[in-house]
Symmetry: D2
Subunit: 169 residues, 4 copies
């Protein structure tokens, strides 16, 4: 059983509804991620780390530097990152740069267009897909969304259609 690190940075995946303020917010906890992976957990050697906890439109260069540093620093060679979808590609570039050549790590970014606690199906599918792919992939930085698992620069968010698609298609 390979060891896996799951880093939760927030984003839509984690959003919950605040009835008092009447809006969705990114909570500073990992409840959505924990709920999504509950059935897999007993079979995995997994450590979950939460950090940043932001809508990805609010992430800045310092956040991305910290994330790159963290991914490079963790002991595990397989790292899944839950991240907002709007700047997932930027953070993937930052992490790839931080790791440089010959790092031997598999890093898979994933997230959701619909908050897990609004409807868990898309979020769960994306995260399960990322966690399954990671052990079967060669080293590199990937994005797993909507049935695709591709090198991070071969996939993009189509903002009009509301889904990720293979680049060049």
């Amino acid at each position: 059983m390979q060891s896996l690190r799951l880093i939760n940075t927030g984003g839509t995946f984690n959003k919950r509804y605040d009835p008092i303020r009447g809006e969705l917010f990114v909570p500073a906890d990992d409840q959505a991620v924990e709920a999504a992976i509950a059935s897999m957990r007993p079979n995995l050697s997994l450590r979950l780390s939460g950090t940043i906890y932001k809508d990805s439109l609010e992430m800045d260069d310092a956040d991305r530097a910290m994330l790159g540093e963290l991914v490079a620093a963790v002991q595990e060679r397989c790292v899944v990152v839950v991240h907002g979808t709007d700047t997932m590609d930027k953070s993937a570039v930052a992490v790839a740069r931080w790791l440089g050549q010959g790092h031997g790590k598999r890093v898979v970014f994933t997230g959701a267009m619909v908050p897990f606690f609004v409807d868990p199906v898309e979020a769960t599918a994306n995260l399960a897909s990322a966690m399954t792919a990671i052990c079967l992939l060669p080293p590199g930085v990937y994005i797993a969304m909507h049935g695709l698992v591709l090198p991070h620069d071969k996939i993009r968010k189509n903002r009009e259609a509301g889904r990720f698609e293979e680049l060049g298609n």
Copy 2:
């Protein structure tokens, strides 16, 4: 984009509640599977075939022979089978025998302990995991459940714990 065949045979994954009879039943349709994969569908070259539609405790040798025949006959080299968890292992053996040696197909069985329409999280995680693994695996017959994707004879249902686990652990 690789072509994928998804064969839905029923089982707990598909069960719905009948308020008139007051019980869960396996419907002769693919609503649960369609709902679980909706977010992936636009990115996949996928054909979905429904058949048998039974609780797997009620599957007999004729059902398994038909399933083996069907898996062998479909054009696609990647086949995911949604199946009841109680006899998933038996059907995997039957399919493996039917395919014989050197077949070149990847077949991944999956299912759920909790009906999708009671709580979609575990069912969605299992199916997304199966659909992600299939394109990354060497030929063979596998079971994908609860975070594991293993050759069908290396994983079993632990009936007391209510989850699948690696055989020998």
Copy 3:
């Protein structure tokens, strides 16, 4: 604020799915009822008592005698009973007999055709309806189901249609 007693006897309202046995069961607790009334609770002077915890097809005369005794004994004049739908009418008759004439109590039976934890909408609607009606009704024994609140002998379960309807219609 009038005091209200809520007696939970089980039935479909409370059923949960057991993934190990692969079936729905009536748990010996009040989780479904507690979840349904959470938003009302801070505004109510309410005591909740759980008992019997059976599918109503399995209730016997001793259960109904105990229920009648309990309804008669509690201090509150307003009593809502959550009960299986199949023999709700029988239990209402038993409670009405036990109370006799001139008792001054309002008793409203309610329940659900779909378990709260399968889909909470019908169950919540029925219970909220019962709890709202009880303070506005004259003394008597009523059934509140599917938008109707009627004396217990003026409403029946239509088993073919899967819903309660006014008797004589």
Copy 4:
């Protein structure tokens, strides 16, 4: 069976999540209300009218005048209004003024703090409570929220606690 008019004006009760814009919005339809009352519908003589479709913070005097006019004009003597919680009290005052003295109508305002499609329990409880109370109340303008059904000037939204409570308590 008394005739009932249900007027849906929008508000949090109706909000749905838009995955493309990444936010909740008030749709110009009645899907949430229809889903909440589905189990009651066959037993009710009910007409549903949708209008305004706004977050109640965005309602203006013209909207309230139109709502007052509509409530006064409809044939039914029992009128339930689904409305945003932030200015429900203002609209109730406007409707009460429009109706004047001796109108003979029962009007019950209700709504939700949590969108039906985020979690249906609170919304369903409030609407079922309003629809049950309306036929049992004397003429007047009421608010039904969180287990309370009170004349509109005896109940208020406690914004810190996130719930409605009896005025003066």
